[in-house]
């Protein structure tokens, strides 16, 4: 029993480690992008995104309030307040000192004594400075602290990219343009391919095998080959540049694979079920809509995901068939390319724009992924 297929390989741990390593390798750029999109330009330029997840330790030089704010309590002159007052920071003090040479001289809550002055500093920056004599000078005492700043994230980038309406930065228009391209460019080929696949899988007609071979043959045609002739055709018949032409192009380029995938799936459906439907009185169209389509849902969903992803991420077809000089029909990929030119140094904007364009495919994938793995056929036949 040990050497049959399905037994555990002896190097299970090696397999697991490799899988984890590969997954991490693939995920790191995306996570980096995601984290960077929540950081300010300053944060990005001062530290790597991986540091943004942890508290940062910072040496700071702060001052107490000026002597003029001192209050007399009995025979003590007192200044009270918060060291972070001006910074308005939610940092916490780890250690502090009164000299720049020794930042770790005191713990929060300790009291430093010097020249008859006593200084107590709490972790949140609250301090109390007392002196037996009236304090002089214009400026407050210097305090050197080691402060821990918690991770700090901002939604400002998203506000800028999605809501600002700024013509160079805004992705919202491009986002809806991309949706306008993608949704019909996903639905149209699936509908056509489903009909074609049913006919090629289950209807008898002369030349069926040749037609299947022809469709499979079309898979090898590179789409770059067809760009210029197709565009000429579109211009010639009056479609011109626009959404319709883009949908048609995506449909055409997606159909061979769609038909091939769906036909192969449908041909694997149990013949008995289809024949039973035929005996039950269903016409070919009813068999298609009531039996084949519901049972093919996993295949339809998985192709929909593919088609959606590559029309969403497409730049070439959009550049050729859609985007004109007005810039009214730009799509997200094109918008990001333009951002690289106009905001090449602003990583926070670029990262945010990139993540906005990734978000929808991620959403679609996670919403549909169960259909990729679920077998809908369980229980129909023994």
């Amino acid at each position: 029993m040990d050497n049959i297929a399905g037994s555990k390989p002896t190097l299970t741990w090696a397999v697991h480690i490799s899988v984890v390593a590969l997954v991490l390798l693939w995920l790191f750029p995306t996570i980096g992008l995601f984290v960077s999109s929540f950081r300010t330009a300053d944060q990005i330029s001062s530290s790597g995104w991986w540091k943004a997840l942890f508290p940062t330790e910072q040496n700071m030089t702060l001052r107490t309030a000026a002597p003029e704010t001192q209050v007399q309590e009995g025979d003590l002159w007192v200044i009270e307040g918060n060291l972070f007052e001006e910074e308005n920071s939610d940092a916490t003090i780890a250690t502090w000192g009164t000299s720049s040479r020794d930042l770790s001289a005191y713990q929060p809550g300790d009291t430093a004594e010097d020249d008859g002055m006593r200084l107590t500093v709490e972790a949140d920056g609250a301090y109390r400075l007392t002196s037996g004599t009236e304090m002089e000078g214009r400026r407050g005492e210097r305090v050197f602290v080691v402060a821990e700043t918690p991770p700090d994230f901002t939604l400002a980038n998203y506000r800028q990219v999605l809501l600002s309406g700024d013509s160079t930065d805004s992705m919202s228009k491009a986002f809806f343009n991309t949706l306008t391209v993608t949704i019909p460019a996903t639905i149209i080929p699936i509908v056509i391919a489903a009909f074609a696949a049913y006919a090629l899988a289950w209807m008898d007609f002369p030349g069926r095998a040749l037609l299947i071979a022809f469709v499979v043959g079309l898979l090898v045609v590179p789409l770059q080959l067809a760009l210029i002739p197709l565009l000429k055709l579109h211009l010639g018949i009056g479609i011109g540049k626009g959404y319709l032409g883009t949908w048609l192009a995506h449909t055409g380029f997606g159909l061979p694979l769609a038909i091939y995938l769906l036909r192969n799936y449908m041909v694997g459906l149990p013949r008995d079920i289809i024949e039973n439907a035929r005996v039950d009185g269903a016409t070919d169209f009813q068999i298609f809509t009531k039996i084949i389509l519901p049972l093919s849902f996993p295949a339809l969903a998985s192709f929909a995901i593919f088609q959606f992803l590559w029309t969403w991420n497409d730049l070439l077809v959009a550049k050729v068939f859609l985007i004109d000089a007005t810039g009214q029909t730009t799509v997200m990929t094109n918008q990001i390319v333009e951002l690289l030119g106009t905001r090449g140094g602003n990583w926070e904007i670029l990262a945010t724009a990139a993540f906005v364009s990734i978000a929808m495919p991620l959403l679609v994938f996670f919403a549909m992924q169960k259909y990729l793995v679920r077998g809908l056929l369980a229980g129909s036949v023994k």
Binding site: P270, D272, I273, A277, R278, V279, S380, V381
Partner: protein
């Protein structure tokens, strides 16, 4: 319900002649079983009746209608498939109501028909489940329910029990028989299991190589097999067959041992024949079904080679006349290997077949 008539029904796949001009009349309410080994054309015949295969020539009539070129939906038939072919994305009720829904009946009528069929098959609690949640026997019932709902002229069953385990198969067999009694339906039932055919059918059609070998009641095909093939196919354990030559009015077997020619069969001197004798008709003395009175019984002292005790009976394998014979021992006792017993050959129940054509010589 209706009659079903096949006349000169023929089917070829290119050069392969699957069904060769068969004729069959199924009367109203009759249960006919098509049996035969794999590749004999029984399933093809059924599928032609259903309209799932085109016919090459001949006629199929349901009632008085010729249905040769009608699509399945216009033939008013129901078919139960070997794999049940339930629609996996529908509940049991939707599965059963599908045919009526397609036909455009209103919802109340569909509900009534489905409930009625579910009541008949005792699957009412399952109506809301999906096929994946059912056991094999339950799926089988749903498949039958789906056939009943349609109220068809002819029911077609394509090896419906072959996916069930032995115990369930026996149980479902009984239920199909009860169902037939209750509905009085015309049924054509394809099986390769001769026990199913014998127990269920009013008439059995035994097919071989695309031809009908014999059509008859279970009693006829068992007791009066028309050919060597039928004799060998029907009955379990199978009939003993021994080649013999007629010499001096006796059947001389392979090694020279001889038996008398069975009574009421006349064979010419020198004819080459095959002697067929069921295991029931070869038994050790005192352990048989028949008394010896009125039967042409021939007795031999023979040594037992192997015995297979089955509890209620024991099968004995006995070398005689150049071949090994199976004998059935009722009220069995332990038999040692090599033990010599006195065996009775009940030749009045024996069959003789022409060695060349395989046809029965009993007229």
């Amino acid at each position: 319900m209706a009659t079903l008539t096949l006349s000169q029904l023929d089917k070829s796949y290119g050069a392969f002649h699957a069904v060769k001009a068969i004729d069959l009349d199924v009367s109203d309410g009759e249960f006919v079983a098509l049996v035969g080994p794999s590749g004999c054309g029984k399933s093809t015949t059924l599928r032609m009746i259903a309209g799932l295969e085109e016919i090459s020539s001949g006629d199929i009539r349901i009632g008085t209608r010729v249905v040769n070129d009608l699509p399945p939906r216009d033939r008013n038939i129901s078919m139960v498939f070997q794999s049940y072919a339930l629609y996996p994305h529908m509940t049991v009720a939707e599965n059963m109501g599908f045919t009526l829904k397609i036909a455009g009946r209103d919802k109340a009528e569909i509900d009534r028909a489905v409930t009625e069929a579910a009541r008949v098959l005792e699957i009412e609690p399952l109506l809301d489940r999906r096929p994946a949640q059912l056991s094999g026997g339950q799926r089988q019932r749903v498949a039958m329910g789906r056939a009943i709902v349609r109220d068809p002229d002819v029911f077609l069953f394509d090896e419906p029990l072959s996916n069930l385990d032995a115990k369930l198969r026996g149980q479902m067999r009984t239920e199909i028989k009860q169902l037939h009694a209750r509905l009085g339906a015309t049924i054509v039932y394809v099986t390769h299991d001769q026990v199913e055919a014998m127990t269920l059918a009013d008439r059995i059609v035994i097919m071989k190589d695309g031809r009908i070998e014999q059509v008859g009641t279970p009693d006829e095909v068992f007791n009066h097999p028309a050919s060597l093939f039928v004799a060998g196919f029907i009955g379990s354990p199978p009939m003993n067959m021994a080649p013999a030559t007629v010499q001096g009015g006796r059947l001389v077997l392979g090694d020279g041992a001889a038996l008398p020619v069975p009574p009421d069969i006349t064979v010419p001197e020198g004819a080459r024949v095959t002697l067929g004798l069921r295991p029931d008709d070869l038994y050790p003395e005192g352990h048989g079904i028949h008394s010896e009175d009125g039967h042409a019984v021939e007795s031999r002292e023979l040594a037992v080679d192997i015995s297979e005790p089955l509890g209620n009976e024991t099968l004995l394998f006995v070398p005689f006349g150049g071949s090994t014979w199976t004998a059935r021992m009722l009220n069995p006792r332990a038999v040692r290997r090599g033990e010599t017993l006195r065996f009775h050959f009940d030749l009045s129940r024996a069959h003789l077949f022409d060695a060349d054509t395989g046809q029965s010589l009993r007229t």
